[in-house]
Subunit: 341 residues, 2 copies
Amino acid sequence: MSTFDMAEHPHRRYNPLNGEWVLVSPHRAKRPWQGQEEDVNKHERPEYDPSCYLCPTNERANGEKNPNYQSTYVFDNDFGALQESTPEGTFSKGGLLKAESERGICKVICFSPRHDLTLPDMEIKEIRKVVDLWQQEYEELGKLDFINHVQIFENKGQVMGCSNPHPHGQIWAQSSVPEGPAKETEQQEKYYQEHQRSLLADYLQLELEEKTRIIFENEHFVVLVPFWAVWPFETMIISKRHIQDITQMTDDEKDAYAEAIKQITMAYDKVFNVSFPYSAGLHQRPTDGKEHAGWHFHMHFLPPLLRSASVKKFMVGYELLGDPQRDITAETTAEQLRSLI
Amino acid sequence: MSTFDMAEHPHRRYNPLNGEWVLVSPHRAKRPWQGQEEDVNKHERPEYDPSCYLCPTNERANGEKNPNYQSTYVFDNDFGALQESTPEGTFSKGGLLKAESERGICKVICFSPRHDLTLPDMEIKEIRKVVDLWQQEYEELGKLDFINHVQIFENKGQVMGCSNPHPHGQIWAQSSVPEGPAKETEQQEKYYQEHQRSLLADYLQLELEEKTRIIFENEHFVVLVPFWAVWPFETMIISKRHIQDITQMTDDEKDAYAEAIKQITMAYDKVFNVSFPYSAGLHQRPTDGKEHAGWHFHMHFLPPLLRSASVKKFMVGYELLGDPQRDITAETTAEQLRSLI
Ligand SMILES: O=P(O)(O)O[C@H]1O[C@H](CO)[C@@H](O)[C@H](O)[C@H]1O
Ligand SMILES: O=P(O)(O)O[C@H]1O[C@H](CO)[C@@H](O)[C@H](O)[C@H]1O
């Protein structure tokens, strides 16, 4: 029998950030594919689209008009999944049926007035303005009494449920700490109690030694494919300094963060020569007023494409009922992305 | 301020089976949709397709020929994500990079020789043969020393990553207990220690009293929309008797189980008048030789369609980074499905 080789043999990897395992099948992407293919959206878009509800000066669903904004623009989501006016209340029956009302605020952030751009097309100083707005929103929403978590994210591309190509992201701020960040809170606090260092600081050190999963690095940030990546071209941006949230970033760090975003999203667009779809989001400490000393700021990129511009990874039967599962190794995709920087 | 009403106000529901919360936004499905639409596959299919690698007598990727099978047929997946020959081994670095090799067996199960059928089109006595094969495979695979979990599932429809419309499902049997079943094991054992009854037996009793989420019931099985459903038309089939796995089913129970499968999949096809895509799978006790007294056999159905035959729910940014989230209540979809039985 040969010896275990992660580049060749099916295995499970541990994600210390959420405490869960991932199944990795290194060579499975090579099997033939006769299934669904996605539309590849190659349409040229105009700089301004009169029918887009996110373009400057246009009317939105609720009848309001967007201002003639010049860089970024933020407004309350007209169809928010969370509402500020939700009354408090709980439901409980037999200990097994349990519900709690959830208050929150949903916002939309336009990254640029230009309908035809995406983050990788924007200049670093324009992306920096998006970072500034994220900082401001996290701070202001986080200060509200009833907001204990602020999730900033972007769905890019139709295949990721994005219904408008105008460059934009969202914020869902709410009373509870959602499952994903709650798991990361627990894991990071536990590690910090044991080691007096943040889990991601120690992880970053290991990765900078190993080098195989590093894609890009500047003075303040590292972009890498996490050892435990699930999505085919999944990456993370991690701050070199152990900060808990975006409000602690200096001007220099914000510039460096904008550069990291520019680099990874540009590399993505080169993988299959197509505007690369993904969901991305910032993970930072809950805004519940506690210190959360172990929390370490980072951003996740979760892109679905696997084999080509039109063939994505399906997270279905086994993945939903068993383990998250991937068909190539983190090292393979890291090498590919690194070569595109 | 009004009082909290689950039919109206955003809230979180608790899933006692896996210990996690779900965000529910009752009226969000009403927002306008300008995003991606799926192809609706309305093609008539022939009873036999000479180019299908699952039809009787045809050749598969590895050169083998399928027999001229008359009911069900099972074979080893030619492109399995798990392999029996995987050598044992572990990888570990700095406590944060951890991997373990994973041995396993992947199989494909054809439900019928007829290329043009799906489970709801089959007669109950034909579905019963699929149930018999599941029972046999769970038993035989589960007996193997290195197999500690047997995941039986079906991906139906292109939108759920299914690449061949011939009616079939899969089995992934492996050394580890995957994350989903591991969580359910923990929750069910804890409940059983405390109450000397299974969690799902008590849950079933509550649901049969409330009636609002019940879709179908026969002597041995109940089909319902779980209180904590995530996918738009998610349902569960739960055995009335507290059995840990499919090997304990009597002949009567297997007939009743086949009828339950027939009823729910037929109802699904009527929701949008289209062959309804889903991922479905059996959850039962790990085959690690332990008793798992708290385990209670059940089957999950996870269908993606939300608003129409072509508009699905996207599990993207917020759902991947925050909480699982749904746009209608469990009670609304239960009422709709019940009316279609
Ligand atoms: O094995 P298949 O049918 O080729 O593949 C399908 O089901 C698998 C198990 O859920 C997934 O890993 C694949 O992404 C999906 O396309
Ligand atoms: O809010 P949008 O862009 O209309 O909707 C998109 O993002 C949301 C948050 O991830 C998801 O709940 C929706 O399923 C998706 O279509």
